[in-house]
């Protein structure tokens, strides 16, 4: 089977972001989505530290460290972009004004519970940032992650074993193997990579999946 690369996953997520959407791309893998947004769509990128209408990274030498993103990297502002304080920024999330947020994850459960902020390791320094606000805020929450851990365990699970970021908050999961919707009936497989069959995907995932309607990966 043809596993998707990280960039192919990002391109696949980008296809589903419509013209006019306000979008927050989480730290890590989701930031790659910005590189694949179709040029013919006007999409407003939000950053939790107080920007809407964020542009690409500045040219070397043009960095302004008063204009940074949530990863604290220098960015630019598009014409029409705006700055605002933290309470407004998180009001945009919590108030449901963002159309989509794309987040990385350690685990997602069959009911859409998300774990992405803490491994629970006893010596880890805990840090949550905006993860919990993003998880419950946007109209649609997309998770983007490898389907399996490095040791081959499914990151889609019956119940999350890592500490939760949000309860029943994920709408869709994009992995290097498949696209799945979280539905009241369970996880519905929308797409699979070429060469992968439903039975094999179910075996790798280790939880019951709903088969129909299935189409080939776009």
């Amino acid at each position: 089977m043809q596993r998707l690369s990280r960039d192919q996953m990002a391109a696949r997520v980008a296809q589903d972001i419509p013209d006019g959407a306000c979008v927050n791309l989480g730290i890590g893998l989701p930031t790659l989505v910005a590189n694949h947004l179709p040029e013919n769509r006007e999409i407003l990128l939000h950053s939790e530290n107080g920007v809407l209408g964020m542009g690409p990274a500045p040219a070397p030498g043009d960095e302004d460290y008063d204009l940074i993103n949530a990863s604290k990297d220098p960015v630019t502002l598009l014409p029409g972009g705006a700055f605002f304080h933290h309470a407004d920024s998180f009001g945009m999330m919590r108030g449901g004004h963002l159309d989509i947020c794309v987040l990385g994850a350690f685990q997602v459960s069959v009911t859409g519970d998300l774990a992405n902020w803490h491994t629970g390791a006893p010596d880890a320094i805990p840090a949550v940032g905006g993860a919990m606000d993003l998880a419950i805020g946007a109209k649609q929450v997309f998770v983007m992650m490898e389907h399996l851990t490095k040791s081959g365990q499914s990151k889609i699970v019956e119940r999350c074993t890592y500490p939760l970021t949000g309860v029943a908050c994920v709408n869709r999961i994009y992995t290097d193997l498949a696209v799945l919707d979280v539905t009241p009936q369970g996880l519905r497989v929308r797409e699979m990579v070429e060469g992968l069959v439903f039975e094999e995907l179910t075996r790798l995932t280790g939880v019951p999946l709903l088969q129909e309607p299935v189409r080939a990966y776009a």
Binding site: V51, E63, D66, H85, M93, A124, G130, M132, D133, L164
Partner: protein, 234 residues
């Protein structure tokens, strides 16, 4: 005559007492009032409770205040950074108390503190470790957590321009926590890059009205995040 301008960062922080709760603006380097923090270290107040998004980088600013062992407790959302080793060591040694707050709850608790709200229900954190022991309620079928406001004795913030009434405008994403922290502190102290005459700031564009600001101190060059440039070059 109202004149909130004080002559130096030392004068601005002179009365911060031991045991005070101090909000410190900034998100990473942007908006961090570095010179006010340095003055607080020199001033010597200890046993402080700090409210800030992060817990310091490298050994400057807030990290230096922690390293000097002036801080008893910190409320923040994201202490762990690649270079937060001062905080990390204190935390692992049990030498600092941490209240970890989701970033939006931190912002809203500060906003509530400044707006006279008694408490509020928020969906953020519901069903997670960070809501353990907190009152919850189901409203229209959704779970919410009761969160209380945060107020402070002092807020140290950075803005771009001010007038003598304490009206402030900020620069780009350096705005971040400044406007809400100014409202939630009994004494908000702003370090600013430029001081202008009354009337020079466009009243339609003033972000923080002077009523929320008690002291203004001129720190030339502080409109740019110089520490960010230094760190980026390192």
């Amino acid at each position: 005559m109202i004149n909130k301008i004080v002559p130096s960062v030392a004068a601005a922080v002179a009365d911060i007492h031991d045991g005070a709760t101090v909000m410190i603006g900034g998100f990473g380097p942007a908006g961090t009032p570095a010179e006010l923090i340095d003055a607080l270290i020199v001033q010597g107040a200890k046993d402080l409770t700090i409210v800030s998004n992060n817990a310091g980088n490298g050994e400057t600013g807030l990290a230096a205040l922690l390293k000097a062992r002036r801080v008893r407790k910190i409320l923040c959302s994201f202490p762990r950074q690649v270079d937060s080793y001062v905080f990390d060591a204190l935390y692992r040694a049990g030498a600092i108390e941490l209240e970890l707050v989701p970033q939006g709850n931190l912002a809203e608790r500060i906003r509530a503190g400044g707006a006279g709200i008694g408490a509020f229900f928020t969906p953020t954190g519901y069903g997670t470790q960070l809501a353990q022991g907190k009152e919850t309620r189901s409203i229209d079928g959704r779970g919410y957590v009761l969160e209380y406001p945060i107020r402070a004795d002092y807020a140290l913030i950075k803005a771009e321009r001010a007038d003598r009434w304490g009206n402030l405008v900020y620069r780009k994403t350096a705005r971040n926590f400044g406007p809400i922290m100014a409202t939630a502190a009994r004494c908000a102290i702003a370090q600013v890059n430029r001081i202008v005459e009354l009337g020079e700031l466009d009243p339609e564009a003033i972000v923080t009205p002077g009523v929320f600001v008690q002291r203004v101190v001129h720190v030339p060059g502080s409109g740019l995040t110089v520490t960010g440039r230094v760190e980026a070059a390192a």
